[in-house]
């Protein structure tokens, strides 16, 4: 079972007060800490687990700047066997559709049975690249996958639906699955582990080697562009609900109602 897993390097923004940069279209990256996209981490772990159980090879692939090497090395340390990194400044400004095109071009030269990606990326949150890639490659797919069971020539999966429901499907290989967080418990990747793969080869590609022309990627090759970004309006601290017990309870009911709880 040969598996390709697509990963992305994203900033960790959970605690950060993000700033809009001077273009107005992206955030200031200075001082931000980057790492592998959380969903992709589950995908890599799942790929490695499948390999450990069924044999085969795991190839990690990423599209991004030279710094993306850190996440690809991390994937190698976690257990991926090979790594491909597509780096080309001309791909900057690509939307999900254009990125999927780059990935599709890169994947054409790699044999695979299944492709795993994260459901979405922490940064743009599009949940679009994986499924688009499947379409470009002409293979079936399933999103929000919470369980994978490898069978002969097909894969039995569970995918998460709303309201605590799941559905079970069988999909013939080759196929692509976007992995939901919580599908497994990703193992820890130690510094020693990363040091051990420091010398491992990472294959690098650019648009030229992939046979893509500049107008197929970047803003020109994209369907959407981010025109501007802006922080959502925020309030500070708790709004204290005061009054008699009954009044307070009534106010809480309003909150419940607004939150769609009752």
């Amino acid at each position: 079972m040969d598996i390709i897993v697509c990963i992305k390097r994203v900033p960790e923004v959970a605690e950060i007060d993000l700033q809009v940069d001077q273009t107005g279209k992206s955030i200031k990256e200075e001082g931000l800490v980057f790492g592998v996209n959380d969903w992709d981490n589950y995908a890599v772990e799942e790929a490695v687990r499948i390999k450990e159980k069924h044999g085969g090879k795991v190839t990690a692939i990423t599209v991004g700047s030279a710094e993306s090497e850190e996440v690809i090395r991390r994937a190698l340390a976690l257990g991926a066997d090979e790594a491909v990194m597509v780096t080309d400044p001309q791909a900057d400004g690509s939307d999900a559709y254009a990125i999927a095109k780059v990935l599709a071009a890169a994947i054409k030269e790699i044999p695979y049975d299944i492709i795993l990606t994260g459901v979405l990326a922490d940064d743009d949150g599009c949940a679009q690249v994986g499924v688009t890639l499947a379409e470009l490659l002409g293979i079936p797919h399933a999103t929000l996958v919470t369980a994978i069971e490898i069978e002969e020539k097909q894969v039995k999966i569970k995918r998460e639906l709303e309201g605590g429901m799941e559905e079970e499907l069988v999909v013939a290989t080759p196929a692509l699955f976007t992995i939901q967080s919580g599908i497994n418990e990703p193992r820890y990747v130690s510094i020693m582990g990363i040091r051990k793969v420091a010398k491992k080869e990472v294959a690098t590609r650019d648009l030229g080697t992939l046979g893509l022309s500049p107008n197929q990627v970047g803003p020109a090759g994209s369907f959407t562009t981010v025109e501007r970004i802006f922080p959502p309006p925020v309030g500070e601290g708790a709004q204290i609900l005061e009054g008699s017990s009954d009044e307070v309870a009534t106010k809480v009911m309003d909150v419940f109602q607004k939150g769609g709880v009752i």
């Binding site: 993000l18 559709y97 949150g125 079970e168 369907f223 959407t224 419940f256 709880v261």
Partner: protein
């Protein structure tokens, strides 16, 4: 005249809330762009739903087939591709749901339609439809521009548009005539699985009623459980409560327990030890109840009640019951 196409979503014979939300927004957009609103309803045995949906749109395109019985993006994609080719809508709306996430990207890709996903707002500026979406886990909003094209597609975030304002249009039901040319054996639906009852996973719950040391005694837990049940949620706790074995470890929220992100988090008698806050601060709505007005929990909560939880819980239970008419 071009139209706005809304793909309605349903599961196991029930219309999903998102469908009505989209229809509501669709009506508004149709008005603004002077277009007609067309709903698409695919499935098996959906006639009664069609009757409901047609009230809110100009046209409803219905197709029934065994292959459409349960959502499978492959046959759906083929039907929708056909419809888009036929009807040339200017805008297609779908939910950013398990359903839409599976379907929209390949459909858009195959049809060459620009797609914007997970949008919480759609504006019309002149001829342009401008979707807004969130990035960086909600820390930034983005105004997205589409490449010019005859048709655009948008998936809509659930809960973004109120369904209340739906207007009655009472459109006509039209049957779609489309012939499947394959059996889609490469992707088969097997069954729906419901999360096992009693198997409490606080990370999956939408509503968490969390208790801390302020609960005083395990004897006071039942009233909190009652409230959780009324709200369709489960009870979670802070470390001291788990340490006391009043609740199992699996219910503990915090760095040494679980990290949760429910829609609603009510913290009773939790002062807000730092390690606890780290586990729950990303909840969508946080209500904190604590005697101490300086309790750190109030710094992350959206709403606070400075009072004894022993007083607050019963009054809330009573009030919820009253609202529910029970």
């Amino acid at each position: 005249m071009a139209e706005i196409l809304v793909l309605t979503e349903h599961r196991q014979g029930e219309m999903q809330e998102i469908s009505l939300e989209m229809l509501a927004k669709g009506q508004q957009l149709a008005e603004q762009t002077k277009k007609e609103l067309t709903a698409v309803l695919l499935g098996k045995g959906v006639a009664s739903m069609a009757d409901e949906v047609k009230r809110y749109c100009h046209h409803i395109l219905v197709m029934e087939d065994d292959l459409l019985a349960n959502f499978n993006s492959e046959p759906y994609q083929d039907v929708l591709s056909f419809l888009i080719k036929e009807r040339k809508p200017s805008l297609v709306l779908m939910g950013h749901t398990a359903f839409g996430m599976d379907l929209a990207p390949p459909l858009a890709t195959a049809a060459g339609i620009p797609l914007a996903t997970d949008c919480y707002e759609i504006e019309v500026k002149g001829d342009a439809v401008i979707p807004y979406r969130q990035m960086y886990g909600g820390k930034m909003c983005a105004e997205v521009h589409f490449k010019e094209a005859p048709c655009h597609m948008i998936t809509v975030r659930a809960g973004s548009f109120p369904a209340e304002g739906l207007k009655e249009i009472n459109g006509a039901v039209e049957q779609v005539s489309f012939q499947f040319d394959k059996d889609y054996a490469y992707k088969k639906f097997l069954q729906y699985v419901e999360a096992a009852v009693g198997d409490v996973d606080i990370t999956q719950a939408d509503v968490l009623v969390a208790v801390g040391r302020g609960i005083g005694d395990s004897e006071n837990l039942p009233m909190v459980e009652e409230l959780a049940k009324l709200l369709g949620g489960v009870v979670a706790c802070s470390r001291p409560v788990a340490d006391k074995h009043w609740l199992p470890k699996e219910r503990q929220v915090g760095t040494s327990g679980k990290t949760v992100k429910p829609k609603l988090y009510i913290a009773f008698g939790i002062s807000g030890a730092f390690q606890h806050l780290a586990g729950m601060k990303n909840a969508a709505t946080i209500i904190a109840v604590n005697k101490d007005p300086k309790a750190p929990i109030f710094s992350v909560a959206h709403y606070g009640i400075v009072d004894d939880l022993m007083k607050v819980v019963p009054s809330l239970v009573a009030k919820v019951r009253e609202r529910k008419g029970a």
